[in-house]
């Protein structure tokens, strides 16, 4: 049988060609399969960032877990933040398997995050000072995340696609959890309504930034072309942002909320939403861990990681039973 196995004897160009044929035919690439370095590195960067963003993303909402205003809300937000950690777990596993041939493990990934070599999503650098922020994160930040994640459900990399299927199934609960908090506030007292409007004002720019710059010219780099080439995703940043507007802007208006951008409207002729660009310079600063809460949240994670080091050390050499 060995004689028939020709794949290992192919030249790198032939391997690459076969690889591209496979993904163009809709086949899934698995962790142990041959893949071009560019594909592996693109996936590692994308998925590791996605993973640590879930984990860092748990922190702004976590602030509100012990404070949630009723038993049901306490349980709901606990389950929601638990899911975020769960998504982090799924994605870390996918990234770790891609990193294994490079001799890297979860420890390296977590340390890269803590040492600021691995960046996390812009939205999770922002403050969440009220309960309405917790609701808004669940409603709109998760809404934006659903847009980008469903866009990758058919990703050519099998393990990522499978993780995303699990994640998106749970996002449906997250969307409804967020809507439930928001509707209670929107239908609540004057104070509650104000709290909600203020949260929207605070988050609007970060939400626009969530999808990334429209073109590489805006910020200097953009991975969107490579990810589309390798069939990891299909839509561009701008398409996703427009999709988000289409789904969410009418709902925001329907609740009587004001979007803090007076230019925001749908241009029927062009078939697209017109909006004011966020400050992309600020975006660059934020993702370099210079956002309002970047350092505080990293420090929280560093403290917890250091504080529990003894547990990991203790069990590193425990005999398994049996």
């Amino acid at each position: 049988m060995a004689a028939m196995m020709t794949f290992t004897r192919l030249s790198n160009e032939e391997k690459y060609e076969r690889f591209m044929q496979r993904i163009e035919a809709g086949e899934k690439i698995e962790a142990d399969d041959w893949m071009p370095d560019e594909y592996r590195m693109t996936l590692i960067k994308l998925i590791a960032m996605h993973a640590v963003s879930e984990i860092m993303g748990a922190l702004p909402e976590k602030e509100w877990v012990p404070k949630a205003p009723s038993l049901r809300r306490k349980l709901g937000i606990m389950a929601k933040v638990q899911d975020e950690m769960g998504h982090g777990q799924l994605l870390l596993r996918v990234a770790e398997d891609l990193l294994a041939p490079l001799g890297k493990t979860r420890e390296d990934l977590i340390e890269d995050l803590l040492n600021e070599r691995l960046k996390f999503h812009n939205v999770f650098h922002m403050p969440a000072p009220t309960w309405a922020d917790a609701g808004l994160i669940g409603w709109l930040v998760d809404g934006a995340a659903i847009m980008t994640q469903t866009n990758m459900l058919d990703a050519s990399y099998g393990p990522y696609a499978r993780a995303l299927k699990r994640i998106c199934a749970e996002e449906v609960f997250h969307a409804q959890h967020g809507e439930s908090i928001i509707l209670a506030l929107a239908e609540g007292t004057k104070e509650q309504k104000e709290m909600l409007q203020e949260a929207l004002n605070r988050w609007w720019e970060a939400l626009l930034m969530f999808f990334g710059p429209p073109t590489a010219d805006t910020t200097g780099t953009s991975k969107q072309d490579i990810t589309i080439k390798y069939r990891i995703r299909t839509k561009t940043n701008e398409q996703l942002r427009q999709d988000f507007f289409t789904k969410y802007v009418p709902r925001i208006w329907a609740l009587g909320l004001k979007i803090p951008d007076e230019t925001m409207h749908f241009d029927k002729e062009k078939g697209q939403w017109i909006y004011r660009q966020p400050d992309w310079e600020k975006f660059k600063q934020i993702i370099r861990n210079n956002g309002p809460k970047s350092q505080e949240r990293l420090e929280l994670r560093r403290t917890a990681y250091k504080q529990n080091a003894w547990v990991r050390e203790a069990l590193s050499a425990v005999r398994t039973a049996g």
């Binding site: 028939m4 196995m5 290992t8 142990d32 769960g86 699990r166 069990l315 039973a321």
Partner: protein, 117 residues
């Protein structure tokens, strides 16, 4: 069995069965320092919203996996209808000659219930 393992982060594959008569299904993988901890983590990490009737964790090192080359060995020709009911489609007509019904899959599987006399 495993003996002394090194490192906190060992990879375990998690399998579960939804109901006592359902097959074991692969769910996902997790990191744990040993199989006892892995077992205690498994359900809540991957099956928080579905029933679980049984659960396995298997250290990934113990799984013999296929390489990309070896997966070629999984392919076969579509010329084996002698293994399938569709290779025996003539029976219906032939039994008719004897005024008998053919026992197709639907008929045979119905025998687990009460049989009309």
């Amino acid at each position: 069995m495993a003996g002394k393992e090194q490192g906190f982060y060992q990879v375990f594959e998690v399998f579960s069965r939804k109901a006592p008569d359902a097959p074991m299904q692969h769910q996902f993988s997790l990191l744990a320092p040993n199989e006892e901890i892995a077992l205690v983590m498994a359900q809540e990490n991957f099956m928080r919203r579905e029933p679980v009737a049984d659960l396995w964790v298997v250290k990934r090192d113990y799984i013999r996996r296929m390489s990309e080359d070896e997966k070629a060995a999984l392919k076969r020709l579509d010329n084996k209808d002698y293994r399938l009911t569709r290779g025996y489609g003539d029976l219906k007509k032939r039994w008719r000659k004897y005024e008998q019904q053919a026992f197709d899959e639907k008929e045979i599987l119905s025998w687990k219930g009460e049989i009309q006399r």
